[in-house]
Symmetry: C2
Subunit: 200 residues, 2 copies
């Protein structure tokens, strides 16, 4: 029986990007389908009273170095490319995530996800600047202005809010979060447990 994995993501999370890179090979190995669900990480943090690990562990000695080591191990295990650190981090992803929902309605979701991750973590740009975002999306063959404009529609805004609230109600508190049925997994490190579950 082929499984479906929900991948709750926000383009602002480098660990979501690394997961996104690892997913195609996992899907190929297992036959599972990955269902990408756009959520607003800032909304999840607000609803759960959580903060990013960068904020939570600011000033904690050895923690940053260990996170770097975990990232190196992930890159090696899943044979993906490391991200290029976005010098504008943290990028406010509200409009990018709304445009992801718009891209679903426009039928260009996969292409949009690829492009948005690319311009955040492969050739990183200040994607919360409207002109920068439009130009970047256009360069990837999308209609950036159309998607970002449609992102302002009430229906689109409401859908992103609903996805985010639903995530919190099902147990999410950060990014990336995965669901296999009701089983939740958190963090790029647990992608291997996701793979075990859908392979088993």
């Amino acid at each position: 029986m082929a499984h479906t994995v929900q991948f709750l993501f926000d383009f602002g999370s480098p660990n979501a990007f690394l997961s996104h890179e690892a997913i195609p090979a996992i899907a190929a190995r297992t036959g599972a389908t990955f269902d990408y669900v756009p959520v607003l990480l800032g909304g999840i943090f607000k609803a759960t009273n959580n903060r990013s690990p960068a904020e939570t562990y600011a000033g904690v000695k050895n923690k940053r170095e260990f996170h770097q080591l975990e990232t190196e191990r992930f890159v090696k295990r899943f044979k993906v490319k490391p991200y290029v650190w976005n010098p504008h981090f943290p990028v406010n992803t509200l409009n990018l995530m709304r445009a992801a929902v718009a891209a679903q309605l426009e039928g260009v979701f996969e292409q949009y996800v690829e492009a948005a991750f690319h311009h955040m973590w492969v050739e990183p740009k200040k994607m919360d600047d409207l002109d920068t975002a439009i130009a970047a999306l256009n360069s990837s063959g999308l209609d950036g202005a159309k998607l970002l404009t449609r992102g302002q529609e009430a229906e689109v805004k409401a859908k992103l809010i609903a996805n985010t609230q639903d995530a919190v109600e099902r147990g999410a508190f950060g990014s990336p979060t995965f669901f296999v049925g009701k089983e939740m997994f958190f963090g790029k490190e647990q992608l291997r447990e996701v793979e075990e579950m859908i392979a088993g």
Copy 2:
């Protein structure tokens, strides 16, 4: 080639206890030796400006539930018994950890480690109460008063401080921490990566 894994532990950490439970089978499967290194978790926290996850994530919705889920998955994966929550948590483990160093000098380290973990997480007691600790250790066939008294010797105190400082210098920030050579692993979840490394 048989590997040696250093296991840096403090009896106050339930995740260190669960790791301790899982270690014998891992050692049997891999032929590796686990070298138990007593450290003072409070000292590591102070030196790194870190806090316990319980403190760090107090008030963060969904986090406690997810930690519970991770613990259930660990218990299932490594076929160990869950801990019994110590109602006196957090127990100040300074004297217990000093007595662990004393137990090394007295040649009763393994027996002491087993007993101290038992009285913290199997039949939990207020082990920072001197009379309680002595009675508990005596009930496990040890000379509790002797070990706790020897724990006050300057040499013993200095050794625990040195272990703790050395841990921080090598990258530790919490418990449990494992080293395979210079490769550090953190948290009970990474015991499986430790096992992969020493099996490979």
